[in-house]
C-alpha cells in the first residue's frame, strides 16, 4: 500500500509541475494588457511598471523566478489591487466557496444515497420512477437555470429567501440547492444501479437463507457493498462542483474564489488567474489522489493491479 501511495504522489507532483508550466506559458500568449487604465499611463510609467513586476526579463528568467517562487508557496502579486499577494487574496476568498462546496456535497450525497436506496428497494414502484425523473432532471437542467428560477420564484415573487449576497445561513440555501441538484441526481442514479446489482448477488440470497432479518440484509450486506463504487464517482463530482460554484457565486454575488476567478479573467489580472488556476488544479489533483487511495483501501484488487483498470 505504501508503495502504491508513493507512486501516486510522485505522478501527482509531476502532473502539477506540468500544469504550472503550461499555465505560465499560456499566460504569456494571452492578448491584452495586465494594467488598469493603460491608456491613462505615460510610456515612462508603463516601463516602470513592467520593470517593477519583472515583465522586461527574458521569458526563461521569468519562468525560473515563477517556478522557484511557487515552490515556496509564493504566487506573486496582483497587478490591479495595489500589488496585494495572490495567496492572501485566495485565502480571503476561499471561505464562502469552501463552505458552499462542502454543504452542497454533504446535502447532495445524503439525499442522493437516500433516494437511490429507496428506489432500488422499491424497484418499479412510484418511488423508483419518481427518483429516476428527479435524476434525469437534475442531470439535465443546468445549475444556472435552477438558480435563476429559484431567484425569481423564491426570492422575488414569494420573498421567502434572500435573492443574493452572503450574510448568514439563509443566504446559503438557494446556492446550495442549485449546486447540489447535480450531486443528488448523479449519486441517486448510481446508487440505485449498484443496489440493484448487489441485490441480485448470491450472497444476498445466502444471507436471507441463513435467517437474517431483511433490515440486517439491507444494511449490512446490500448498502455496504453498494456504497463502495460510489467513491469512484466522488472525484469527478467534486470537480464538477467547482465548475458549478464559478457560475453560482456569480449569480448570487457570493464573495468566493469562483467569483474572483471569473472577474480576474474579465479584467486580465494574470497573477490572479494563474494563482487561482493552480489552486483549482491542485485541489483537483488532490481529490483524484485521495479518491484513488481510498478506493485502494476498500478494494485490494486495485492496488495489487498497480492502480490500472
Amino acid at each position: 500500500m505504501g508503495r502504491y501511495i508513493g507512486g501516486r504522489v510522485v505522478s501527482m507532483v509531476i502532473t502539477f509541475l506540468i500544469i504550472a508550466s503550461l499555465t505560465f506559458f499560456l499566460m504569456k500568449l494571452l492578448p491584452g494588457t495586465p494594467f488598469n487604465n493603460q491608456e491613462k499611463l505615460s510610456d515612462a510609467q508603463i516601463v516602470q511598471l513592467n520593470e517593477k513586476y519583472g515583465l522586461n526579463d527574458p521569458v526563461a528568467v521569468q519562468y525560473f523566478n515563477y517556478m522557484t517562487n511557487l515552490l515556496t508557496g509564493d504566487l506573486g502579486v496582483s497587478f490591479q489591487q495595489d500589488g496585494r499577494q495572490v495567496s492572501t487574496i485566495i485565502s480571503e476568498r476561499i471561505g464562502p466557496s469552501a463552505y458552499l462546496g462542502f454543504q452542497s456535497l454533504l446535502v447532495g450525497t445524503i439525499l442522493g444515497l437516500f433516494l437511490g436506496i429507496i428506489a432500488a428497494l422499491r424497484h418499479n414502484s412510484f418511488w423508483d420512477y419518481g427518483t429516476m425523473v428527479i435524476a434525469v432532471l437534475g442531470i439535465s437542467i443546468p445549475s444556472f437555470v435552477i438558480a435563476g428560477l429559484m431567484q425569481y420564484w423564491l426570492g422575488v415573487k414569494w420573498q421567502l429567501l434572500p435573492v443574493a449576497y452572503w450574510d448568514g445561513f439563509a443566504y446559503t440555501i438557494m446556492p446550495t440547492i442549485a449546486i447540489a441538484s447535480i450531486v443528488v441526481a448523479t449519486i441517486a442514479r448510481f446508487m440505485r444501479t449498484e443496489m440493484l446489482e448487489v441485490l441480485g448477488q448470491d450472497y444476498i440470497v445466502t444471507a436471507k437463507a441463513k435467517g437474517l432479518s431483511s433490515t440486517a440484509v439491507v444494511i449490512r450486506h446490500t448498502i455496504r457493498n453498494a456504497s463502495i463504487p460510489i467513491i469512484t464517482i466522488m472525484g469527478p463530482l467534486v470537480v464538477g462542483l467547482m465548475t458549478g460554484t464559478l457560475v453560482i457565486e456569480r449569480i448570487f454575488v457570493i464573495p468566493g474564489l469562483g467569483e474572483k476567478f471569473v472577474n480576474s479573467i474579465l479584467t486580465n489580472d494574470f497573477p490572479i488567474i494563474m494563482g487561482t488556476t493552480l489552486f483549482f488544479s491542485f485541489l483537483f489533483i488532490l481529490v483524484i489522489l485521495l479518491v484513488d487511495i481510498l478506493y485502494g483501501i476498500v478494494d485490494p484488487r486495485i492496488r495489487l493491479a498497480g492502480g490500472k483498470e
Partner: protein, 342 residues
C-alpha cells in the same frame, strides 16, 4: 377424465398433416430475421422516454432552423423605443392566464404604452428592442451547431486515438495512454478557459476548446471495447483467413463498437451545450450581436426581477434540449445492451 376423452373425440383426422422430414425444408427460417440495428430500434420504440426525447430534439432542431424566419423581425435590429416588451402572441393573447397579452408584471400593457399596438413579439423583446423569439432560435441554432461540431471532432479523434492505441497495443498503447494521463490530470474547465482566453472568443474557439479534452472520454471507451474484442475468436478467424488490419478494423471492430460510440456521442452533445452556455455565461462565449442560449440567459439575468420572460424562455429551451439528449442517450444504452438495463 371424461372431459379429456370428450375433447379427444373432437380431434378429427383432417386437423393433422404429416410432418415434413425433408432436411432442407426444416432449415428454412420462419420469421423475418432481426439484425442488431432492427432489434435496437424495436427496443428503443418501446421506451417512452426515448421517444419523447427524439420528438423534442426534432421539434427544437426544426425551430432552430426555421424559427428565425417565422416572423418579419431579425436578430440584430435594435430599436430602443420598443425595448423590453413582454410577450404577445396573436389569438393566445385573449386567454388571460397564459400571460402572453403584452401586459407586464405591473399590469401595464407595454405595447399600448410604447405605441406598438399592432406589432407582435412572441417572446417579447430584449433590452435593445431586439425580437426575443428570433434571438432565442438563432441562439439555439448556434448552441446546437457548436455541440454537433464538438461531438463530431470528439468522435473522429476519439475513435482514431482509442482504436490505434488498442489495436496496435504494446509500446504504442503505452505512449498514447501516458499522454492521456497527463491530459486528464488537468481540470478540463481550466484548460477550456485558458484556451478561450488565448483565441478570441467566438464559435470557432469554443469548438476547439471543447474538443481539446472532449475526445478523451470517447477514446477510452473505444480503446476498452477494442481491447476486449480483438482477442475474440471471430477476429482471430478473420486474421487467419488473411484479412488485412484495415479489413479487421473496418469490418469487425468498428461495427461492434458503433453502439457504444453512438451512446457516448449522445451524452457528449448535452455536455457540450452545457459548457458552451457556461462559457457564454461567464462572459467568455459568443460575442454580441451573435447570441447563444447561454449568452441570452446571461443577458436576461441583469433584469430578472422585472422582465423574467427574458430568462424564462431560453432557460426552458436549454433544459428541454439537455433532458431530450439525456433521455435518448439512456434509451439507446438500454436498446443496444439490454443486459445493462435495470
Amino acid at each position: 377424465m371424461s372431459m379429456k376423452q370428450e375433447k379427444l373425440h373432437d380431434l378429427t383426422d383432417d386437423m393433422f398433416h404429416p410432418a415434413n422430414i425433408d432436411e432442407s425444408e426444416s432449415e428454412v427460417i420462419a420469421g423475418e430475421s432481426t439484425g442488431f440495428w432492427k432489434d435496437a430500434w424495436r427496443r428503443l420504440k418501446k421506451n417512452p422516454g426515448a421517444i419523447i426525447g427524439l420528438v423534442i430534439i426534432f421539434l427544437v432542431t426544426f425551430l432552430a432552423i426555421f424559427g428565425p424566419m417565422m416572423n418579419e423581425h431579425d436578430y440584430r435590429t435594435q430599436e430602443l423605443t420598443r425595448a423590453k416588451l413582454p410577450a404577445k402572441v396573436p389569438v393566445l393573447e385573449n386567454i388571460g392566464f397564459l400571460g402572453v397579452n403584452g401586459v407586464d408584471i405591473r399590469g401595464v400593457d407595454q405595447y399600448e404604452a410604447k405605441g406598438y399596438e399592432n406589432e407582435y413579439f412572441w417572446f417579447g423583446t430584449d433590452e435593445f428592442g431586439r425580437d426575443q423569439w428570433t434571438r432565442v432560435w438563432q441562439g439555439t441554432r448556434i448552441s446546437l451547431f457548436i455541440a454537433a461540431a464538438a461531438a463530431f471532432i470528439d468522435f473522429v479523434i476519439g475513435v482514431a486515438y482509442g482504436g490505434i492505441s488498442a489495436y496496435y497495443g504494446g509500446r504504442v498503447d503505452n505512449v498514447l495512454q501516458r499522454i492521456i494521463e497527463v491530459l486528464v490530470g488537468i481540470p478540463n474547465l481550466i484548460l477550456i478557459i485558458l484556451a478561450i482566453l488565448i483565441f478570441e472568443p467566438g464559435i470557432f474557439s469554443i469548438i476547439v476548446a471543447l474538443s481539446l479534452t472532449g475526445w478523451v472520454g470517447m477514446s477510452r471507451i473505444v480503446r476498452g471495447q477494442v481491447l476486449k474484442l480483438k482477442t475474440q475468436e471471430f477476429v482471430l478467424a478473420s486474421r487467419t483467413l488473411g484479412a488485412t488490419s484495415g479489413r479487421v478494423i473496418g469490418k469487425h471492430l468498428i461495427p461492434n463498437v458503433l453502439g457504444q460510440i453512438i451512446i457516448t456521442t449522445m451524452f457528449t452533445i448535452p455536455g457540450a451545450i452545457f459548457f458552451e452556455a457556461f462559457l457564454s455565461f461567464i462572459g467568455l462565449g459568443i460575442r454580441p450581436p451573435e447570441a447563444s442560449l447561454g449568452s441570452i440567459i446571461n443577458n436576461g439575468f441583469s433584469s430578472l426581477q422585472i422582465y423574467p420572460h427574458l430568462v424564462l424562455w431560453p432557460s426552458i429551451i436549454i433544459s428541454l434540449i439537455m433532458i431530450a439528449f439525456n433521455l435518448v442517450g439512456d434509451g439507446l444504452r438500454d436498446a443496444f445492451d439490454p443486459k445493462l438495463r435495470k
